[in-house]
Amino acid sequence: MSSIEEKASKAREKKALYGTDVDLESYESEAKPQSVVEDAEDLPSVVKKAAMDVGVKLDSESSGAYVQMDQTPVVAKSLFEGVEIMDMASALEKYDYLQDYWWKLVAPDADKYTADVAKSPPAGYFIRAKKGMKTVFPVKSCLYLGSTNLNQRVHNIIIAEEGSELHVITGCTTPAHVQRGLHVGVSEFFIQKNAKVSFTMVHSWGKEVEVRPRTGITIAEGGSLSNNYILLRPVKTLQTFPTATLAGRGAVASFNTVIYATMGNIDVGSNVNLNAPDTSAESISRVVCVGGEVIARGRMTGRVPGARAHLECVGLLLSDKGRIYSIPELDGQSRDLDMSHEAAVGRISEEELEYLMSRGLSSEEATSVIVRGFLDVEIKGLPEELKQEIKNITQREDLKGS
């Protein structure tokens, strides 16, 4: 037994530090194989539509595509010579060197979810931006959970080689007919020297779906990450706390989180270790809650002089049925740090509401306009078309504030 499997076996029952506990036994671990298609165009229309709903338009304006239905990678295709895209099992077979990346940023025994993924046959994407190659269009990926009661397990690796530029947009979604399901996604991102990565993840799940992403990121000297997470649809439980380590001088990470909660238990945040000089990190989360519980975490740990970190958690609580629990944490472990946070939880300002009503908007219309504006986070470092796609999601007419 490999040491990964050994560790995983020992962690089978290990509960996660955060989030509600999921009964893994209550989900099916065997998935029916799906048919592989030559091109994203050939996907079943229900999948294409679901992908569109999470902002993933699988068209020619992409640097490549990866689509996974349940446990089957059905499309893995690069459309730009600077980017390699493969399904994880094939990549592990092709490249021995991947063993140096496999389970290096997320521990197989971190909790029962990572352990479960470690014991399963690998499925997920491998995306490699080649040295010095800059993509303009994003790589688009869709993880589609299409069978009721399935435990979908995904393990992804992204390597942005020295001086490369990579944009990825991932939509994780389930169609309306899926009553119940579990999605566990392990992701390990390696951002090498002077590489620039933007990673945008949009989630759209069902009311009985549980979600446990596990993400580890390392950023080398001069590298940067812009990580965006958007959740606007109901989910039963979701817990994620991606950890980024700024390992080289001048590395930069920025996390943006946008959540519109109507129900469920949503425990999200980001954790950044500033381990090298001149590194900086920023984490901004905006939460609108009309129901359910949202725990918005942010943790920054400064370990060397000169590191700069800023946390911002702002929440609009619009109902008595909801809860927003904001937990910003700053851990300074060196001199000459510049670390700050601001957190606020409140209601929509009466003054803003009255202002818009004085222009003829009804109270409902004014609320909706203010909420949409609140969620419209300015996300830096994204290509224009990706910005537009995200804007389209956050500006949807059906996103009402009540």
Partner: protein
């Protein structure tokens, strides 16, 4: 013909009475200026006409276009034709000015309105966010030009504005109150609060009132009243026998 008729209106905030047995009548096509020291109820009057809910109406009525609007909601009043340029409006994060123009009036020619106020560069900015004092005033005028209300209320549209832009704002007010048309053709009216009256060099007001202690103490020709105030202060208005 009467557009606005306020009769015996008494208003308080908390336990403090701000307007006392207040009367005001504005005909269609007329623009009235309101003068008076700080804290005398001018802004309260405009807010109460606009329908901002944090005031208590203790008595009296507000009739607009023949309809009693004393207890009508703000948005209904706006749709009925009441518009207001706020003295210190809030910023709205994530709402672009040009998008607000379209929300206020889908038929509005946003580029033309922005151009008129020399405000094209602000169309893509969030409403009032990071605007200077003078820019806020132009943002308010842009929104009113989109709204085209029948009664335009302006709460110190000239404060914090440089001379060049006072002229621009004055012209916009004249347009909103149809001062470019013959008096007999005018149907729109205005109420303007101004401290120093600079704006009156660039726009036309038909009548002026001096407010003290929550009531009008003097009414008359705007230029004459302004001269009187400049000469002997608001105190001079107390003993004034001008017809109120």
């Amino acid at each position: 013909m009467r557009l606005l008729e306020i009769e015996d209106l008494s208003v308080s905030i908390g336990s403090k009475q701000v307007l006392k047995n207040f009367d005001l009548r504005i005909n269609r096509g007329e623009t009235h200026a309101l003068f008076g020291p700080n804290g005398t109820g001018k802004t309260t009057l405009l807010n109460v006409i606009a329908g901002i809910p944090r005031y208590t109406i203790d008595g009296g009525s507000i009739v607009f276009k023949g309809e009693d609007i004393t207890h009508m909601s703000m948005d209904e009043r706006a749709r009925l034709g009441i518009g207001m340029a706020f003295q210190r409006p809030p910023a709205i994060r994530g709402l672009r000015l040009k998008d607000l123009i379209k929300i206020i009036n889908p038929d509005a020619d946003a580029p033309a309105i922005l151009k008129k106020m020399d405000f094209e560069a602000f169309g893509d900015r969030d409403v009032n966010r990071g605007f200077s004092g003078g820019e806020v005033k132009r943002s308010e005028m842009v929104q009113l030009l989109a709204q085209q209300p029948d009664l335009v209320m302006l709460d110190e549209p000239d404060s914090g504005v440089d001379l060049e832009n006072i002229k621009l704002i004055g012209e916009a007010i004249n347009q909103l109150t149809q001062k470019d048309q013959r008096p007999s053709l005018r149907t729109k009216s205005g109420i303007i609060i101004t401290h120093f009256g600079h704006i009156l060099d660039y726009m036309k007001a038909d009548r002026a009132h001096v407010m003290l202690g929550g009531a009008i103490v003097c009414s008359g020709n705007p230029t004459e009243i302004l001269e009187q105030i400049k000469k002997s202060g608001y105190e001079g208005c107390v003993g004034c026998l001008c017809p109120a």
